[in-house]
């Protein structure tokens, strides 16, 4: 799976978007170690204000909850957590180092920031996956602003038509940016969609500059 690899956006926008996944390796540490995967998820969710989290068999922050994920005995292959700033990410990487659970962890986001976070806690990254972008008939793609939202779901389950509809509805005052972003997040089945970033993009596209922390008004 490459689903957190090709997130669109400029460096400033990407600086608040760090999906993290933990995974067991088939044939090496898969059996009997589901608890380790859950421990990583539990630590992340209980200690940090995540934009999203989830596992593909149980659900996400917007379709399930941590309790269900902890209780589930079904074998989930991967857990996901979306961090929103470098400080939380750095502290979490420190937690992972200290817990020493032996499972693979992959962080997506700005390379410069991730490498810096690793340096601060003394981790040495092993392998890197670069995105060389989209090739082929790129003229068929929707606008960059729409792609910045839809590529937050790597399985392409967030429809560009739905994003466009919500932009129209936000402009008409029918729905708030945050509500629209959360409804978009519900379409992502593995918990990597970042609705905080999506709301910010929607607000910018619609020419609104009101922070969600400032109250219900949208200008």
């Amino acid at each position: 799976m490459t689903h957190t690899l090709h997130r669109e956006g400029n460096a400033e926008d990407l600086s608040s978007d760090f999906p993290v996944l933990a995974i067991r390796a088939k044939g090496y540490n898969e059996k009997g170690n589901l608890w380790r995967l859950k421990k990583i998820l539990e630590v992340a969710v209980t200690r940090y204000p995540l934009a999203n989290f989830g596992d593909i068999v149980t659900g996400t922050k917007f379709t399930s909850d941590l309790e269900q994920m902890m209780k589930s005995e079904r074998e989930c292959p991967i857990v996901h957590m979306v961090f929103t700033n470098r400080d939380d990410l750095t502290r979490f990487l420190g937690d992972l180092k200290e817990m020493n659970l032996g499972l693979s962890v992959v962080v997506s986001g700005l390379f410069e920031t991730i490498f810096d976070c690793c340096r601060k806690v003394g981790l040495k990254p092993h392998t890197v996956n670069y995105s060389a972008g989209v090739w082929g008939r790129v003229e068929r793609l929707p606008s960059l602003e729409i792609l910045e939202v839809t590529t937050l779901c790597g399985h392409s389950l967030v429809s560009s038509h739905l994003v466009k509809r919500f932009i129209e509805e936000i402009r008409k005052g029918k729905i708030r940016c945050e509500e629209a972003a959360q409804e978009l997040a519900r379409q992502c089945v593995c918990g990597i969609f970042n609705p905080i970033r999506a709301a910010r993009i929607l607000r910018s596209v619609c020419g609104l500059h009101h922070s969600p922390d400032e109250g219900p008004s949208q200008e």
Binding site: V128, S131, R137, G154, H155, R165, Q187, V189
Partner: protein
């Protein structure tokens, strides 16, 4: 997969158990809420109207990739969205497009392998070689397997060996020619990953060939390059790609090297 509004949590569907998505027109009230949820625009008006003069919707099965989004969204207020049994080769649409469908070929949900995610343990990629992932149809355009076969054919001609354990490789019936079975070529998927690795010195020519091929396709593909980081130094792959005129995004994925074999 959810069974409908108000039902329990998601259920993982195995390949072969999938069902064709339809809207039951006799139930549809023509509210149109579902239309924009479809990632490929396959939900369309029927030209038939309800008693209240609203146009009913149907799913156009040709572009529909069986991703399950319309049903999972629970957006239909009258539960008119249903799934019907799928038959081969349409089953492939769900296998590649619905992340909750488990592939028979890999026994896993997902379109690819663990690739770089567990590389510190598996050493699937070692220094001196790079991994390449071509995610056909992504983002959001989709692709037919016939279109994807055009790429596997070209890669086979260039001497590429496909990663052995991926859903796409399981479809290749002739690895020397990169051919899929003829009966699957018309099937349409939201995305599918072609995965392989090459020696570093071959990367530039392969990517250059793919750029040329991309211009002749009718869809898009997202390109990923995987590299093991050298001890304490900059990755030469970045410079190599830059020299080839290939711009890398400032963001990507980093394996932290925390994994190890466990009892």
């Amino acid at each position: 997969m959810r069974g409908g509004r108000g039902s329990g949590s998601w259920r993982v569907v195995r390949e072969g158990e999938e069902t064709e998505m339809i809207i039951r027109e006799e139930l549809c009230i023509g509210c149109g809420q579902c239309e924009s949820y479809c990632p490929v625009g396959a939900i369309v008006p029927t030209n038939e109207k309800t008693n209240r003069g609203k146009e009913r919707r149907r799913i156009d099965l040709a572009p529909c990739v069986e991703c399950g989004t319309c049903l999972r969204s629970r957006i239909c207020p009258v539960d008119a969205i249903f799934q019907q049994p799928l038959e081969w080769p349409r089953t492939l649409r769900a296998a590649f497009s619905n992340p909750l469908t488990e592939h028979k070929s890999t026994g896993h949900m997902g379109r690819g392998t663990e690739e770089m995610k567990t590389n510190e343990i598996t050493h699937r990629f070692v220094p001196g070689e790079v991994g390449v992932t071509l995610e056909m149809g992504r983002p959001g355009i989709g692709a037919t397997l016939g279109e994807i076969e055009r790429v596997t054919r070209a890669l086979a001609q260039w001497g590429i060996t496909f990663a052995s354990d991926t859903p796409i490789t399981s479809l290749v019936v002739d690895r020397e020619k990169g051919l899929f079975p003829k009966e699957v070529l018309g099937e349409r998927v939201l995305s599918a990953i072609i995965e392989f690795k090459v020696p570093v010195e071959k990367l530039r020519s392969i990517l250059s060939g793919l750029q040329e091929l991309g211009d002749r396709l009718t869809t898009v593909f997202s390109v990923g390059v995987i590299s093991v980081l050298p001890e304490g130094g900059d990755d030469p792959i970045v410079g190599l790609l830059r020299e080839a005129g290939i711009n890398l995004r400032p963001n990507g994925k980093v394996n932290l090297g925390l994994g190890r074999p466990l009892p």
